[in-house]
């Protein structure tokens, strides 16, 4: 009896294994026809992408961005191209690490088709060979951008491996019901923090926004407290000695500031979303955002009171372009190319620029658009909480090369967080 039972069991196991092997074989045969996609005309790519699914992995910490992707973008892609978009919420560093794992394991067919990326993550992904390309010369809407502006990503050459998507500038947020006149400079902000203990904090790097705030201070301490002059020397690539010379006073300053921060500097908000909650509840007086019109969007959504406004420091604030890229093992590269081209189209760029939707600025060169499209952007109401485009432009600072970003993030952890 036992014998018969086990024979029967063995037979079953063999059948299961056979099916599994057959399935694996079938999967392997499907494969990717990468070279083919790069040879095709864009119209053919659009045709071949129809009816497919594109899995778009992006940071999921902002409900407005998520909603915009899930509604407008998904709907348009479906009706224009018959593409089904699936949003995969993931931190960018995690996406890069996941791809790294897949590369290690030799997984030629991944599960993500398109990623939102820039800065040090792009550099890492490129250096580890995690991206597909160069492909952007096949994307028609790239013609609508200014090549000079979009060919470097935080000092690292783009080389056709990522497609520009948006442009963001760092701003600070405050509530006029509480504060009449926001601090105008780094010095005034410092004085305010010391005069109002426990009312200011920043998200803990490597959080994207918190790390950007620290970079402002890094620029500030770089050269006679003049960010505008101080940043230029960093643009030629990473210089360890230069970094160390300028980082030391920054860490000293931040350690000295700690007792005046929220919870006496004992804890930092783990990410931007946590700082948002603290600001909404009134536990701190300032918030910060790498989206110029983010505050207006939150007012429109009813999360912020009408009285919230934004400001920049007179030394300037960081401005960066963000991109989309296709992983080396994306199962649907043609679909990903069509989606990224759509995201760069004037329609999608305009919709994204509306504060209620997201408020992320367009990366298109308005001079290359036709009159009607250009007017649409020029007449866009960014709301009272968003600074005028001229003010933002006059205070824009370029991002630091990607190597400094990692060094500053690690330095902060070592010198500020771990050294009490």
């Amino acid at each position: 009896m036992i014998l018969r039972y086990s024979r029967c069991r063995h037979a079953r196991i063999i059948v299961v294994l056979a099916v599994a092997v057959a399935t694996l074989g079938a999967c392997a045969r499907e494969g990717n026809d990468d070279a083919g996609v790069l040879e095709e005309e864009f119209d053919r790519i659009v045709e071949s992408a129809e009816g497919g699914e594109v899995r778009f992995a992006l940071w999921g910490g902002d409900s407005r961005i998520n909603r915009w992707i899930d509604t407008y973008v998904s709907r348009e892609l479906d009706s224009r191209y018959g593409i089904r978009l699936t949003r995969v919420p993931m931190d960018t560093a995690q996406i890069v690490n996941r791809l790294l794992g897949e590369k290690q394991a030799g997984r030629e067919r991944g599960s993500i088709d398109l990623i939102w990326i820039n800065g040090e993550n792009f550099k890492r992904a490129r250096e580890q060979g995690l991206l597909f390309g160069p492909y952007t010369h096949r994307i028609p809407n790239l013609e609508l951008t200014d090549p000079e502006e979009v060919s470097y990503d935080w000092g690292f050459p783009v080389d056709g491996y990522e497609l520009p998507w948006g442009q963001a500038q760092f701003v600070l947020e405050y509530d006029t019901a509480e504060i009449d006149e926001p601090p105008a400079s780094v010095e005034e902000l410092d004085a305010w923090i010391r005069a109002n203990p426990g009312r200011f904090t920043y998200p803990q790097p490597p959080d994207f926004t918190g790390a950007a705030f620290i970079r402002h201070l890094f620029y500030h301490f770089a050269d006679g407290h003049e960010i505008a002059d101080g940043h230029e020397k960093f643009l030629d690539g990473f210089d360890q000695a230069l970094y160390e010379r300028h980082a030391e006073p920054l860490w000293e300053y931040l350690r000295d500031l700690e007792p005046y921060l929220w919870q006496g500097g004992e804890n930092y908000p783990a990410d931007k979303a946590q700082l948002d909650v603290l600001f909404e509840r009134g536990e701190v007086s300032f918030n910060m955002s790498y989206t110029q019109s983010g505050a207006q969007g939150l007012i429109d959504a009813g999360r912020y009171p009408e009285t919230v406004r934004t400001f920049v420091l007179e030394q300037g604030t960081l401005t960066g372009i963000h991109f989309t890229a296709i992983p080396f093992n994306a199962p649907n590269k043609a679909g990903a190319m069509v989606v990224s081209n759509f995201l760069l189209s004037p329609d999608a760029q305009y919709s994204k620029n509306v504060p209620e939707n997201w408020g992320d600025f367009t990366v298109l060169d308005l001079g290359r658009l036709d009159d009607e499209e250009r007017r649409r952007f020029e007449e866009l109401d960014l709301g009272p909480a968003t600074l005028p485009v001229e003010v933002l432009g006059a205070h824009a600072l370029p991002e630091i090369p990607a190597e400094y970003v990692d060094a500053i993030d690690e330095g902060w952890e070592r010198e500020v967080l771990r050294r009490e």
């Binding site: 039972y5 069991r9 803990q204 490597p206 004992e266 509840r281 771990r418």
Partner: protein, 295 residues
Amino acid sequence: MSNRGSRILSACVSLSPLVPFVVFVTVGVFYTGAQSFGFMVSAAPDARFSNGYAVLYRSAWFYRSLLYSVGVASAATAFSVLGGTLIALGLRALPERLFRIGLVYKIPLILPHVVIGLVVLVAFGRSGFIARVFEALGGSVVNLVVQSLIAPINPPGTGALVFAYVLKSVPFVTLLVYAVLRRFDTRQVETARMLGAGVLQRFRSLLLPVIAPPAATAGVIVFLFSFGAFDLPFLLGGSRRPMLAIDVFNRYWYRDLAARPAAMASLIVMFAISVVFVFLYFRLVRRQHHGVRHV
């Protein structure tokens, strides 16, 4: 086939459900172990990585994180076992008609950890639900008392973390201890009292031997869980004292490849500590069984 052969075959068949588990653990531990020494970290043939244990050995942060994790897990275990046992004793003493009401203790048992974490986050924050409700009372004594009561468990921080673990684990301890207590004949206590045994003596010689084994088992599980968990520390932990699981996560996901061996070495250390802990526990239990009494 001989009788012995079919016995072996039958044993193999009955053990077969364990195969995926054994394969998974063995492969997982092997892979983690290899990476912890700097092997198999990158597919690139020329990539060299340092031994993760050497990195940890020099890392004061790792020691702090390790000690902190042991501390939090111990505190969570102590409070949970104490609280859970007291509730079980209380339940045993409840009159029959009130017993059903007593079952509310099981609610946190069915809630996932992350829900408990969110409840603590939303309710006990400095500007959280409770603080805001009582804030409305202004400078009254009630408000001051409530605010100072919840201050030690304001998230993020150690207080909030331990509190959430205790909230989640107390019902579990209660469940195990109460199951044993229910079968316990209370007339024994009554008899001992009539024979002149004091409260302490009655507890020590009658109740303790009954509740100690389930309480200890529950304690081991609570300790192992709190020591290695990620979800509650992620929601409620402070910035400066990361539980080991958070430290591993940060090293693995947020740094470059060079940090991975140390992350994996951390995992191996956590695994080793858990194994040693369980081993010591079983030895202790066995000694109790052979030595004092069999419960």
